[in-house]
């Protein structure tokens, strides 16, 4: 009897998470309806004007979507090679003690909140960009991408390092027995067989990059225009954080913001699905090892 009650209670609580998931999904889709019916394809108007409060309001979410993708892509493009090579460094060149120390710090780095990254980005990266490029304001797409890339490093290093470790455990003895150099075994063995793991790390890093809010918002300049490398921009998350408070819920303005978030959710879901299947394939591959 007691067993039954506990089971029912536990089962009920366990459905809180699926319920939250469904509520969020339905809510976001429902809130997007006013914009979808009122604006339709004007949401993706290529003029790229976001002017919610003007005489003739215009709600193109194309600029924020492209800025989000641009910044995320740039950040991954910077962080992936550096993080990947750093993971190789830790597994092949650094001593065991240094590796342990660095990985511990990198782990801690992953716990640093994004507002602190944004703060350091503003006082260090933005100021230096102003100096180097002679800009009047250093808040730009490039600044956001640089800050984001540093935030992605711990994630890329720890996931890719794990893949390398597994591969190394399997093939290192054989490589050593054949007498090839460490470089040869990295280039011809480790990198080829960890390519799926690397792909999973890069794709989910892209997901993280495109959903970051605070740090990006602090250094990107927040202007909803099409992104240029040294120009200002605004991401979907930044737009949401800055404008939803002043938009009336249910209005076309708020609804357009929801539409942008729905796009982000869709992108993130696709990324989650891809990484899920990549990881599953990886696991079955490691089982074979």
């Amino acid at each position: 009897m007691k067993e039954k009650t506990a089971l029912c209670l536990f089962a009920a609580v366990s459905f809180v998470i699926p319920a939250i998931f469904i509520v969020i999904l339905v809510h976001v889709i429902y809130q997007t309806i006013p914009a979808a019916t009122g604006l339709g394809m004007l949401l993706f108007d290529t003029s790229g004007v976001w002017r919610p409060l003007g005489q003739t309001p215009s709600f193109s979410i194309l600029p924020v979507i492209s800025a989000t993708m641009y910044v995320a892509f740039l950040a991954v493009a910077i962080a992936a090679p550096i993080g990947g090579m750093a993971a190789i460094f830790l597994n092949y060149y650094a001593g065991r003690r240094l590796t342990k120390l660095v990985l511990a710090f990198v782990d801690l780095l992953a716990g640093v909140p994004s507002v602190i990254y944004g703060f350091i980005g503003l006082v260090v990266v933005v100021r230096n960009l102003e100096r180097i490029f002679n800009m009047s304001a250093g808040e730009s797409i490039l600044a956001a991408a640089l800050v984001l890339s540093v935030m992605l490093l711990p994630y890329i290093i720890s996931t890719y390092s794990e893949s390398i470790e597994k591969a190394k455990n399997k093939y290192d003895t054989a490589s050593r027995a054949l007498g090839v150099s460490a470089e040869y075994s990295v280039l011809k063995v480790i990198i080829p067989i960890t390519k799926r793991g690397a792909a999973a790390a890069v794709i989910s890093a892209f997901g993280r990059a495109s959903s970051e809010t605070i740090a990006v918002m602090m250094v990107i300049g927040n202007a909803p225009i099409f992104p240029r490398l040294l120009g200002r921009g605004q991401t979907i998350s930044g737009l949401t954080a800055l404008e939803i408070g002043s938009a009336e819920i249910g209005s076309v303005h708020a609804s357009a913001i929801y539409a942008a978030n729905l796009m982000l959710m869709l992108t993130l879901s696709v990324i989650l699905l891809i990484t899920y299947f990549l990881r599953r394939k990886l696991l079955s591959e490691y089982d074979k090892i």
Binding site: G111, S114, I116, L187
Partner: protein, 277 residues
């Protein structure tokens, strides 16, 4: 040719490794150095003052507000998260139910933090009519850290507790009894550290609380229906409005110190527990 290629690889690896090590130490060093220069006892114990507010004075209500927020969201997310994990690992036999719950956890874990803020803001504040408050922010942060905590606890249970369960079941002991007397006592430290790490992640995030309950200036909340100050949101405002660089350094130092202590405590506890086993 091969020699050049090898040297090049070696060089890049060392360079990237060095870059990462430098960046890591720079981030910690920068905040700790500037924070130590700018922090005073008055800053820790006083409320925000000056014009604009926050330019002078301290952050005491932000410290208490952050602690309350962490406790509230940790309590809610910890309870739901650990029960869900127990159900999934020890009780659930239906493949589809398991799949649905796991898929929702996975999906929620990949969403952006501002999405939780946005949905929390509209549903809790506008549809349910809650005030901007500790409660609304607590619920929002709890939802955000829920997948994080649940995933960690599931991993914990899946690693090696099923063996214990099977041995006990063979002896004819009931499942609830095993859970209460064997599984939970031997795992409660790891469950607590999982929840604490989730809380550390939650109180560092400014995005979900900026719309739902954090304000620029408020006393220590007396009840969950009052607005509150959060250190991360306070730091965000100090920096983005350019109110005070000195106080921003000190706030960043405090926030980092709290999170580092929480992280170090959790990792230390887990480490000693592993050794004890």
């Amino acid at each position: 040719m091969i020699k050049y290629r090898n040297t090049l690889l070696k060089l890049t690896a060392w360079l990237c490794g060095g870059l990462v090590v430098t960046a890591t130490f720079f981030i910690f060093g920068y905040i700790l150095y500037h924070g130590a220069l700018n922090i005073t006892w008055n800053f820790v114990s006083d409320r925000p003052r000056g014009v604009p507010i926050g330019a002078e004075g301290g952050v005491f209500p932000a410290i208490t507000g952050t602690v309350y927020l962490g406790a509230l969201s940790g309590l809610m997310a910890g309870l739901v998260g650990s029960i869900t994990a127990i159900f999934l690992v020890f009780y659930c036999r239906n493949r589809y139910v398991k799949g649905i719950i796991k898929a929702s956890i996975y999906f929620l874990s990949g969403m952006s933090s501002i999405l939780f803020g946005l949905v929390g803001y509209t549903i809790l504040l506008h549809m349910l009519g809650m005030p901007r408050s500790l409660l609304a922010a607590g619920i929002t942060v709890a939802v955000m850290i829920l997948p994080f905590i649940t995933i960690r606890i599931i991993k914990l249970f899946e690693e090696d507790s099923t063996e214990l369960l099977h041995a006990s079941l063979c002896l004819g002991v009931s499942k609830t009894y095993i859970l209460r007397k064997i599984i939970l006592p031997s795992y409660y430290i790891n469950i607590l550290t999982s929840i604490t790490l989730g809380v550390a992640y939650g109180i560092g995030a400014a995005a979900p609380v900026m719309l739902t309950g954090a304000v620029l200036n408020a006393p220590t909340p007396q009840s969950v229906t009052q607005p509150f100050m959060s250190l991360s949101y306070h730091l965000f405002i100090l920096v983005s409005e350019g109110i005070s660089l000195t106080n921003a350094y000190a706030s960043a130092f405090l926030l980092m110190a709290i999170l580092l202590v929480l992280n170090a405590a959790c990792r230390g506890l887990e480490y000693f527990k592993k050794k004890g086993d």
